[in-house]
């Protein structure tokens, strides 16, 4: 099969961007990606836009982004699978190119989350779970992951300190990322003192909402090679789902969708977990990164707590994980996150990450989870 390559990458500043509309955020990332690829808009065949619509005042956000980027009349469409929307956009762009329909496609993940009042956000937060049987008891997003954390502690002896060590690592690297929301180190002691949210979680177990955008330009193999010599290949696109109700899952110590998506992505790319040198995983809550080490096969199920405690996910360890700060420190503009993860892997494989560069990064991976594992996308990237 012919390959699909990433030829350009752009990333704006994540944070409380009260200075910009969603289309203005998209423009920043798009302009950088096009400059990076060194191509003009006339080379593009289509765009795919990732955003979660319920956060925006503007309905049908793809329309306003497409106009502002001056991409009319090119085709566009929106992808939405909660926090994994960005990876869904990459997947559909990959499909559009592999089908032969389009040769060069821009993927833009963009999200304004601070446009809403706190009360509106809290109301939305109350509808994260299955609304017929669960949300009626006041379940919350942190609450669901907290219930995974309780099971993980019960079955494997994982500790809250191990979970918070994920946050300490991600802030350590986020401090080196100029695009991150929080560019400062934290200590375990400070994390342990933070306000309770949903036991065992406190504030430092949770990622923060943010505004932001990221953009990638994808091209078919032939065009990619003719345009640039710094192509990063998207060689494995794995995607799988699991029940909306987490109560109907076989267990609450991992995400079956992540395990299945990883299996498919590894198989498609012809790699094993041991080939992965750098990974971006979905650390919406600290325990989610611990489960990701296990679901992706970096370690056995139940060993994730030790994996972080032994610093095996730091640069110099086995797989450098979330060295852009992760969702925890970089911020989580939900529609942009999957594209932002892929951006970091592209820059890592190109060796352009400066102080947080992972040495000998030839194969990288993204693990992007929608909701509470209802959808997971695992993508494998390679540099020739």
């Amino acid at each position: 099969m012919a390959r699909v390559g990433i030829i350009g990458a752009g990333h704006g500043k994540f944070g409380r961007r009260s200075d910009a509309t969603v289309q203005e955020l998209a423009f920043e990332a798009f302009r950088m990606a096009m400059e990076d690829a060194g191509i003009e808009r006339g080379m593009l065949d289509a765009s795919v836009i990732a955003a979660v619509p319920e956060y925006h005042k503007q309905r049908s956000v793809a329309g306003v982004v497409q106009e502002y980027l001056n991409l009319n009349p090119l085709p566009t469409w929106l992808t939405e699978v909660a926090c994994a929307s960005g990876s869904a956009a990459l997947r559909t762009a990959w499909m559009a190119i592999q089908s032969g329909l389009h040769d060069v496609v821009a993927v833009i993940g963009c999200q304004k989350m601070t446009e809403m009042e706190t009360a509106e956000i809290l109301a939305l937060m109350g509808r994260v779970g299955e609304v017929q049987w669960e949300s009626v008891f006041g379940t919350t997003f942190p609450g669901y992951y907290a219930m995974f954390a309780q099971r993980h502690m019960h079955e494997f002896g994982t500790t809250h300190e191990q979970m918070l060590a994920v946050g300490v690592k991600n802030h350590h690297y986020g401090a080196l990322n100029p695009n991150a929301l929080f560019q400062k180190e934290i200590t375990l002691a400070k994390a342990l003192e933070s306000e309770p949210v949903s036991s065992p979680f406190c504030v430092y177990d949770c990622c923060a909402n943010a505004d932001g955008a990221a953009c990638l330009i994808l091209a078919c193999e032939e065009k990619a090679k003719s345009i640039t010599d710094k192509v990063v290949w998207l060689d494995g696109v794995g995607c799988a789902t699991a029940s909306m109700s987490v109560l109907r899952r076989p267990d609450l110590v991992g995400l079956p969708s992540a395990q299945e998506a990883a299996r498919r992505a590894y198989q498609m790319a012809g790699v094993t977990p041991r080939d992965i040198k750098v990974a971006e995983v979905h650390d919406c809550f600290t325990v989610a990164e611990i489960m990701a080490y296990e679901d992706l096969g970096f370690c056995k199920k139940g060993e994730g707590g030790h994996y972080i405690a032994d610093r095996r996910s730091y640069i110099g360890g086995e797989v450098a994980v979330n060295v852009d700060g992760g969702l925890k420190s970089k911020g989580h503009p939900i529609g942009a996150t999957g594209v932002s993860m892929a951006y970091e892997i592209v820059k890592q494989l190109r060796g352009e990450c400066g102080k947080r560069q992972v040495p000998n990064a030839g194969v990288g991976l993204t693990h992007n989870v929608g909701g509470i594992g209802q959808y997971t996308f695992v993508h494998v990237f390679k540099r020739d």
Partner: protein, 152 residues
Amino acid sequence: MFSWFGKVSFVPYSKVADFAVHLKDGRLMGSVCKKCGYQTFPPRADCPECMSPDFSFKEYSGRGEIYTFTRTTAAPVGFEDIAPYTIIVVELEGGGRLVAWQGESLTEEDVRIGTKVQVVPRMWEKGEEIKVYYTVEKPGTTWHKAPAPHLG
């Protein structure tokens, strides 16, 4: 009548809406497929196995054990007045799990994975409004049940 179920109702309609009426009568109901016998909790009208749309309700004992739990401090809209509250997932005897609140008979020490518990149907009435739900209590806790189910 499904609007009766829970503290905040998001979907006041369902093909299994009578679940809420049974709960008001003191009965916790799952469902059984009339064609293939697939049994599940919470109930569903349409069989995921054989795709038959014919089901009947089946009463559950409500006995079970704590599968997981969390004490929520940051509450969503409509739940601020009861925060902090403890959400418990109960693994039911007969299969299936449910989400419910910690009841008054359980202490903080009781709320541990594996603790044997009883799910108890509850109702509160504020004027015209009926709300039905359930809480997680100590085994042996009793409650009032209507004499016979008045719905299929």
